[in-house]
């Protein structure tokens, strides 16, 4: 039998339907692959072997009875940010030491009820704070991609680094991920996978450990566009437990793939042409523009004038919300507790021991910008900037733009332990320069693999759409996928 892990969801779905193999066989193939490779890649922090086999058997039994869900028998990896009942859920933080929730997130509940199988929990940056997966309490994830000229281990991006690397290295058919400032799209771009951050409110946030509530949104990381469409359809839902989720029908995203883009207006924002942007990124962007022109789309130069304020404003809003969201990790009810003689020192010792450096930094930034005397100057102003960023997008969409094309990241994957970034957090934050605007405006954005750089490392292009028009992104994304083709890393793991 050929390696079952090579199949996309769409392919595996067809073969499971045809009876070529069972979910149990498919699941076993993934479990063996994880066993063989996880030590090298560190993408899984918990492998739920028994549960996976149980779910696969249940799925095969269902199938035998003719009950076939849209993800029937498909083995998935789940980012550690999603609450999974009775299973390790720690947001890759020490502070949630030994935490196993008594509840299941809405997104994963949707996946299981559509027939999917859970392989385990995936590594990530602690509390989703990071762009390299180096802030995880469980250590960094290694990107399956390597530079042509070096054997140095590279980061997979973050925060959904475990999700992206697992999908790229065939350790799951697809993975759940979350995106607060680029945490789906950036790692997808750095691993040649497809990552979509849907419109804010498209997926329920219930049961997802909160980082920045007004920005967090779940989405899938997959090997191709079609799998992305299949996954998003299952993940998305309105949820009366999340009042910020939106009650709109979930369309059949798959059917958008292959539709012509003739006459579609693709906006090219001049503000995304940053100073010091590598030529390779610029060239890739130009290539993308040509692909759309060739496909009959109309290329329109647009302006999103407040773009340059997005990253600074993001690094006020997100830490502010995080400082409050993470207050519940106090050692009182669950997770880590560092015993002490009084309550205040218990808090201090627990939080000092439980949170990593990046999380502590953001909690402190957030606390600062919300403090009396600073609130107006920082938080309130950042919110005003956010409104302006949103208005920038509304204006161009009102002028008839269907989707906006930008680079996904300012560079390809970098080395684990990159000293420049380790010594200057702002350099790390710049990874999100093209992606944060989308979160600030609550829009859908997708990163599609678009080629390799000179070192043979993947790069992605980003498409940004109107609210709840993810279909347009699948329709337009298909052009990049067709033109660029698919790239997979040479297996070394």
């Amino acid at each position: 039998m050929s390696d079952l892990t090579q199949f996309t969801i769409a392919e595996a779905r067809a073969k499971l339907d045809a009876g070529d193999f069972s979910s149990q066989e498919l699941t076993d193939a993934y479990l063996s692959a994880i066993r063989a490779s996880n030590e090298k890649l560190n993408t899984y922090i918990t492998v739920t072997e028994d549960k996976a086999r149980e779910m696969a058997k249940a799925s095969d039994d269902k199938r035998a009875k003719g009950e076939v869900g849209p993800l029937e028998g498909i083995p998935l990896g789940i980012k550690d940010l999603f609450a999974t009942k009775g299973v390790h859920t720690q947001a890759c933080s020490h502070i949630l030491d030994s935490f196993e929730p008594t509840y299941e997130s809405t997104v994963t509940t949707n996946l299981w009820s559509d027939g999917a199988v859970m392989l385990g929990k995936l590594n990530m940056d602690e509390f989703a704070m990071g762009s390299s997966n180096e802030t995880s309490y469980y250590g960094p994830v290694v990107n399956p991609w390597k530079s042509k000229n070096s054997n140095a281990p590279l980061v997979p991006g973050g925060s959904s680094g475990g999700s992206a690397a697992s999908v790229a290295s065939y350790l799951c058919a697809a993975a759940t991920a979350t995106d607060t400032g680029g945490s789906i799209r950036q790692p997808a771009a750095l691993t040649s996978t497809v990552g979509i951050k849907p419109t804010y409110g498209r997926c329920s946030r219930w049961g997802i450990v909160a980082f920045a509530s007004s920005l967090d949104q779940a989405g899938p990381i997959t090997r191709d566009l079609r799998d992305s469409a299949i996954m998003l359809k299952s993940m998305a839902s309105v949820d009366d437990k999340d009042t910020t989720s939106v009650d709109l029908p979930v369309p059949d995203y798959e059917s958008a793939i292959g539709k012509s883009v003739k006459g579609m207006k693709i906006g090219i924002p001049k503000e995304y042409r940053m100073d010091g942007m590598p030529d390779e990124i610029e060239d890739l962007w130009q290539k993308g523009i040509e692909w759309y022109r060739d496909a009959g789309a109309e290329i329109v130069d647009i302006s999103l004038p407040h773009t340059k304020y997005a990253l600074p404003a993001y690094y006020i809003v997100a830490p502010a919300e995080a400082s409050s969201n993470l207050a519940r990790y106090d050692g009182v009810r669950y997770g880590l507790r560092e015993q002490s003689t009084d309550i205040v020192s218990m808090y201090e010792n627990t939080r000092a021991a439980g949170f990593g450096a990046e999380v502590r930094r953001r909690v402190m930034i957030g606390t600062y910008v919300l403090s009396a005397g600073y609130y107006d100057a920082y938080y309130l102003r950042a919110q005003k900037v956010r409104t302006l960023i949103k208005r920038d997008f509304e204006t161009v969409f009102a002028e008839g733009i269907d989707a906006i094309l930008t680079p996904a990241t300012p560079s390809a994957a970098f080395e684990i332990g990159d000293q420049e970034m380790a010594n200057d957090p702002v350099k790390m934050y710049l990874n999100d320069i093209f992606t944060v605007t989308v979160n600030m405006a609550g829009l859908p954005g997708i990163s599609v693999p678009a080629g390799l750089d000179a070192n043979g490392l993947p790069l992605g292009l980003q498409l940004i759409g109107k609210p709840f028009e993810e279909e347009t992104l699948y329709q337009a994304g298909n052009i990049i996928e067709l033109a660029a083709g698919r790239y997979t890393p040479d297996k070394w793991w």
Binding site: E321, A327, R328
Partner: protein
Amino acid sequence: MTIVDTRTPDPSDFIPGATGDWEVIIGLEVHAQVTSKSKLFSGASTEFGAEPNSNVALVDAAMPGMLPVINEECVSQAVRTGLGLKAEINHRSVFDRKNYFYPDLPQGYQISQYKDPIVGEGVVSVSIGPDAKGGFRDIEVGIERLHLEQDAGKSIHDQHPAMSFVDLNRTGVALMEIVSKPDMRSSEEAKAYVTKLRTILRYLGTCDGNMEQGSMRADVNVSVRRPGEDFGTRCEIKNVNSIRFLGQAVEFEARRQIAILEDGGTIDQETRLFDPVKGETRSMRSKEDAHDYRYFPDPDLLPLEFDQAYVDALASDLPELPDDKRNRFIGDIGLSAYDASILVSEKAIADYFEAVADGRDGKTAANWIINNLLGKLNETGQTIEETPISPDQLGGVIDLIKSGDISGSIAKELFEIVWAEGGDPAKIVEDRGMKQVTDTGAIEAAVDAVIAANPDKVEQVKEKPNLAGWFVGQVMKATGGKANPQAVNKLVRQKLEVEG
């Protein structure tokens, strides 16, 4: 916020100091627990007295990834309360997070409303009195705002030598914080305001007002000044949980501040606690130690929005409120202001009164309730809800007086019997032969017998006509009080030829 002084200084409110008179300024923040089955943002029960930590939803315990969902019942209760306070209802309000660490606050923040509360300015009319002459003085206390917020849990410090326990049953229960303007000028006014506010909430059914269960508590802002001068520096006395303590706290605090000022000192703005055992307030934390709560809009909750139709629907279902009821009792039924005030003070009493007065003379019903029923309840320490005499039974007693079946004094006896034993008053009167004698023949015979037996008194009565009353008393005694006193009086005077 500019604070406007709405009151004219009244010397009768002044507190005399060693160096002259002082005026006390009081504003209150009343925390009233919303009457609702479940909590403000979770489905957990709000039942009082449950096993510790049994009414706790995942979101109340702040489990990772849990989200608040607004309980619409609490919203409508807040709007109803706003309407009852004749206040502006804000169609759009915002929930904010008030951040601080405490073990009984699992989220590390309280969800409250900061800049945009659900209810804006309103007013409460408060009657102060009755004074020695039975008079009332009406004042108006402005309402600054009403907002919805979560209650915290309970920390228990006496169960373990080194640890504290936490009970999260109250965590997340909906509170309305009702903020008054600094419109009160005496402890009496403050007490009357809270009493009136509680009455309104109970009429509306939006808070049970049970202060001993913690359903209502007040933070009291107190400052003093020389009459006519600007407001002084205030101190906030936290968590006062009875109306009596409220009065004591204000009295103590005002005098404490006056003493400091008269000694040439200044008042530090601070938060204080009232110690009911010692009857004094003491410092809890100074302004410098005040928390920085880092308020910001809760990103888990969209702004709370509703339209005027929603408000109108709630307004149309609002019960008659105490002020309207009081006016109706005075205007339509003809009760005195005093009687009407007493009857509307509790909705249950007003309801009782209206049941008794239905088809009967209102003033008689009011007299019986105020003088007899409430007196007796007060004696036995029972509430109107616990009364052993139903409105029907009391109405029955009144009916028997009206029909002339019993006299007023027999009626009082009958009231005691019904109180102690229950039963239908008419049947008791019948069974026990308590009916008054209206048969003139029988009364005449009794009168004749008394006259015949007391010839000396008959002589005396010619000189002293007042002695006729003695004969009436003797006849009443002889008939066991059942004779109609008017008929006896008339016959006695006829036969003794005394002018009546």
